[in-house]
């Protein structure tokens, strides 16, 4: 007979040997719960993340920018769907997840609670927000749960264009008129710190990190990823003549990476708790979309039902 302990041993041996865990494999309840929480919140972030950018589709400055932004926002919808499907393999339902989002029980990345005020914000979001997301997602391509890892591989393949289109917008503005350059700098000033917060609280305060590292759900800690992001992004800002809004930022020869200033964690927790500039607006937009779409979902279900009945009748006659 297989006992809980021997199942756990087997599970841990798989984790140790880098063998992926698949939906029907035995797994500790806490592993399942952690994944449902993390994957569904990741999915919600993709969906809510469409809102700040969707805001600029009709006002994109050229056709080239418009088709790129449209494609990017459509990708985010697709990424949300890959992730919801991955979470559903763990036994939750789409409805439970969307209900949790709409009632505020489930969180999504706090970065999307900041407003996109100017066109330069679309550049900054692609460059910084997608840049930070990619750093996290590249790491998650090696996560221990098979369906999550496979969704991440697809997402990473598609997402590299997102960051490039953002950086290209910033580059164009930075090389433009004085006003355009100021607009790019202003967007960088506003998005820099929230982007660093995207990696989550510092390791010593993160309640999930240790267990998630042990189960290889995460392969790098919040602080490691944050450092990696700073080191990759600072030279990119220099290259286009923009200044990172951090007076403590400097190269540390000894560690071979940048030192950077203190993050305002009070601001972070305040936004997480629902008091950011756009929390209410974002949630309302999602609830409204769901309510307005209800008749469509019902009509489609009724149509499918009718078609099935017709088909069954035809088969009977034949």
């Amino acid at each position: 007979m297989t006992t809980e302990t021997s199942m756990l041993d087997k599970f841990e041996e798989k984790i140790r040997k880098e063998i992926k865990i698949e939906p029907r494999d035995w797994m500790p309840e806490k592993y399942r719960k952690t994944l449902v929480r993390q994957i569904s919140q990741h999915a919600h972030s993709e969906i809510v993340g469409m809102l700040p950018e969707g805001n600029w589709i009709t006002r994109a400055p050229s056709m080239r920018r418009k088709v790129a932004l449209l494609a990017k926002v459509q990708d985010e919808a697709g990424h949300g769907l890959y992730l919801y499907s991955a979470a559903e393999t763990l036994g939750t339902t789409r409805k439970e997840m969307t209900d949790d989002l709409h009632t505020g029980k489930a969180k999504y990345s706090s970065i999307f609670n900041y407003p996109s005020l100017t066109w330069a914000d679309i550049g900054a979001i692609g460059w910084l927000v997608d840049g930070a997301a990619i750093m996290n997602q590249v790491m998650l391509c090696r996560t221990s749960y098979g369906p999550y890892a496979r969704a991440m591989v697809r997402i990473c393949k598609e997402e590299s264009f997102h960051q490039r289109q953002g950086y290209e917008i910033m580059l164009t503005l930075a090389r433009g008129s004085e006003e355009q350059k100021a607009m790019a700098q202003d967007a960088l000033n506003r998005w820099w710190w929230p982007s660093l917060m995207m990696f989550g609280p510092p390791d010593h305060e993160s309640k999930h990190t240790a267990q998630s590292m042990a189960w290889k759900i995460k392969r790098k800690t919040n602080d490691e990823l944050r450092q990696q992001f700073v080191d990759a992004t600072v030279p990119q800002a220099k290259l286009i003549g923009l200044k990172i809004p951090d007076s403590d930022l400097k190269w540390n020869e000894e560690k071979g990476s940048y030192d950077f200033g203190e993050i305002d964690w009070d601001e972070f927790w305040n936004v997480v708790k629902g008091n950011g500039p756009c929390n209410k607006e974002r949630l309302n937009a999602r609830v409204k979309a769901s309510e307005k779409g209800q008749w469509v979902r019902e009509a489609a279900a009724a149509f499918a039902e009718k078609q099935n009945q017709r088909k069954a009748k035809k088969e009977q006659v034949a």
């Binding site: 297989t2 559903e88 409805k95 209900d99 496979r150 209800q294 979902r297 489609a300 279900a301």
Partner: protein
């Protein structure tokens, strides 16, 4: 929240180009098979990933139990004589 149920779940298989098998790529919800194909087109083939799509409602798939994997797959492990390298041939025979 309302009592509305999710649309059924469909497993999606894509043939990436002529000559290759359809391969499982993920799943999605749709009211019926036609909608599942249309949604699969939008969700899984935005970058020329496919030339053909199969959709199967998830509930129709019967899967082997992971707990049976030893009894199912281990017997194949010790049958090395099913592989060409098991057989010794003189060096003069270059390709066989």
């Amino acid at each position: 929240m309302d009592k509305e149920k999710d649309w059924p779940l469909w497993e999606i298989f894509i043939r990436s180009r002529a000559g290759l098998n359809h391969k499982h790529v993920g799943s999605l919800h749709a009211a019926d098979a036609d909608m599942a194909i249309e949604n699969a087109r939008d969700v899984y083939t935005r970058r020329n990933e496919g030339i053909s799509i199969w959709v199967v409602e998830s509930k129709h798939i019967t899967a082997s139990n992971p707990e049976d994997s030893e009894s199912l797959f281990e017997p194949a492990d010790n049958k090395i004589y099913r592989h060409p390298t098991f057989y010794n041939l003189p060096d003069e025979v270059k390709h066989m």
